[in-house]
Amino acid sequence: MKATGSVIAIVAFVGLIALLNALYTVQETEQVIVTQFGRPIGDPITKAGLNIRIPFIQKVNRIEKRILEWDGRSNNMPTRDKLYIAVDTFGRWRITSPLTYFRRLRDERSAQSRLEDILGSETRNAVARHDLIEMIRTDKGREPLRDETLGEESILVGELLPIVKGRIAVENEIVEAAAKKLIDFGIELLDVRFKRINYNESVRKKIYDRMISERQQIASRFRSEGEGEAARILGDKERDVQEIESRAYRIIEEIKGEADAKATEIYAAAYNQSSESIALYGFVKTLETYRKILDEDTTLMMSTKSDLFRLLKDIDGQ
């Protein structure tokens, strides 16, 4: 009686342990491959929830179902135009064929090192096949905005360099080349993108020098524009001043000339009306002239034959 009770208790206890061991959960973020002595059994379980397995014998291998990251190391490499640049790429991938993935790679650490090998070398290949600008620019047709206030200056610098393919096309080339190789590992490569592309330390100095000289060129352009514009305005000033003065001169001379002509006409009309008036004008004007020209310094010699003094000699003036 006692013994059977103990046996039942023990069997129940072991049964409970076995049941707990047989039950396992699958999370939304994972897929599971059940293995028996290392050999995969059945299809991978991709639906989340409670599942059952043969306890103690079968093992649960959990594999990521989410989109995973690959963050490449920053590497120095030359472009086709022989510029040394530091390239930092990243990519997204996921495990689409868990069985293949499990058989060939077993865990993520080895997957990451494969990715690094394959994507690293494909990136290097793609970079070596293209000029730097192909990896910098994206939109072939883009025209740069120009600052209206800078005037002609903005034409001098700031041209976008022309491209044939552009950044996204280069990224796609890397994906295409690498995806084929990764499919064998049960991995789908979703994309690869350039995170950072920068000038290598050794190139940077030269780039900076170029930028400085470019800026200095713009600065001197501004200065000479200023001087030129100032000279133009001063020229305008002189022209306007001379125009105003000369026009005034012309108007003044016209007015004076007209007045003189009018005056002459008036005088002529008065003096020239008859032979008597001409004679009178000559007479009066001569007298008037005497008044003006004879002053106290004048020495006047007059004959006794003159009209004024002839009476001095002869009362009749004969």
């Binding site: 699958v26 639906k47 989410r66 920068n198 780039i207 200065r223 004024l308």
Partner: protein, 330 residues
């Protein structure tokens, strides 16, 4: 010790039953408390909770008090869906709201160094503001969605900067960069299914690299100089031209005055002459004499040396000398 079964039972009744009775209270109470503790949960106001049953997604609940299956059968994860989160690139402000708000001190200079579309270098700092709007996607679609956001944001920002000249990046193109990067980032975030909504991308300081900075300043200075030179000469123009105009008008008015004067004088002279002529014609001889004598009477007294010569006496010279001598003596 009791020997009969009855004794045994009595013994049990006496000693164990009271304890069992006590246990009959305590054990269920503990059980109930434990059940309640694992079945009741609350969700903060700004969050939503995702409930998983044996790891499988069941439902999403809003803020407040909720029930779930106890003993770890249901588990919940709260996601702050209403909270505005941000990530900073190239710089860091104190007090992080989330672990991916900024990168390590060594990473920051690399984060902001970019190459522009005219192969110049620029340092760009920016902020991404976002919310987790779809918690299931956020939790189940992509591993480390916020780290992924950092990677994508850097890539997208370089796409936008790479298609612009350094002048555009630093001055006039900022807004265009922000909006282009925003729409591109949202597009990729949706493609991946990261469950995030990007609210804003803001450019912070955008500068040329340190060694180049002074030459950029020089350009600004030269621009100012240009304006200054132009303004000075405009000032000179404005100083001279209106004054000249005024002076010209003055001279013209003066000429008009001259004209009026000239004509008036002429008319005056003519009228006077006509009046004289009328009278003269009445008695020409007398008038001539009168005018002549009047004039001489007026003129001669002014003249200090007057010599009257008799044409018959031929002694002009001595007389002249005498006269000049008296003048010298004076």
């Amino acid at each position: 010790m009791a020997n009969s079964p009855q004794d045994y039972i009595d013994e049990v009744r006496k000693q164990i039953l009271p304890r069992l009775r006590l246990g009959a209270f305590i054990v269920p109470i503990i059980f109930i408390v434990y059940t309640a503790m694992t079945a009741i949960f609350s969700v903060p106001t700004e969050s939503e909770a995702v409930i998983l049953r044996f790891g499988k997604f069941v439902k999403r609940v809003g803020p407040g008090l909720h029930f779930k299956l106890p003993f770890g059968i249901d588990r919940q994860t709260s996601i702050p869906v209403k909270r505005q989160l941000k990530q900073e690139y190239g710089f860091a402000t104190r007090g992080a709201s989330n672990p991916t708000q900024f990168s390590s001190r060594d990473e920051r200079p690399k984060e902001k160094a970019m190459v522009t579309g005219d192969l110049n270098a620029a340092l760009v700092e920016w902020v991404v503001q976002y919310r987790i709007t779809q918690p299931e996607q956020f939790l189940f679609k992509v591993r480390f969605p916020e780290d992924t956001l950092r990677d994508v944001s850097e890539s997208v920002m370089r796409e936008a900067v790479g298609d612009r000249t350094v002048d555009e990046v630093i001055t006039i193109g900022r807004q265009a960069i922000e909006s282009e990067a925003l729409s591109r980032l949202q597009q990729i975030v949706n493609e991946y299914g990261m469950g995030l909504t990007i609210d804003q991308i803001q450019l912070k300081s955008v500068d040329p690299p340190e060694p180049v900075q002074s030459s950029f300043d020089e350009v600004n200075q030269a621009k100012q100089e240009r304006e200054k030179l132009i303004n000075i000469s405009k000032g000179e123009y404005n100083k001279a031209v209106p004054r000249t105009g005024g002076e010209a008008d003055q001279h013209i008015e003066r000429a008009k005055g001259y004209a009026i004067q000239r004509i008036n004088e002429a008319e005056g002279d003519a009228t006077r002459f006509n009046a004289l002529l009328t009278e003269y014609l009445k008695a020409p001889e007398v008038t001539r004499k009168r005018l002549y004598l009047e004039t001489l009477a007026e003129v001669l007294p002014r003249i200090r040396s007057k010599i009257i010569l008799d044409d018959d006496a031929k002694q002009v010279l001595p007389l002249l000398q005498l006269n000049s001598a008296t003048q010298v003596a004076k």
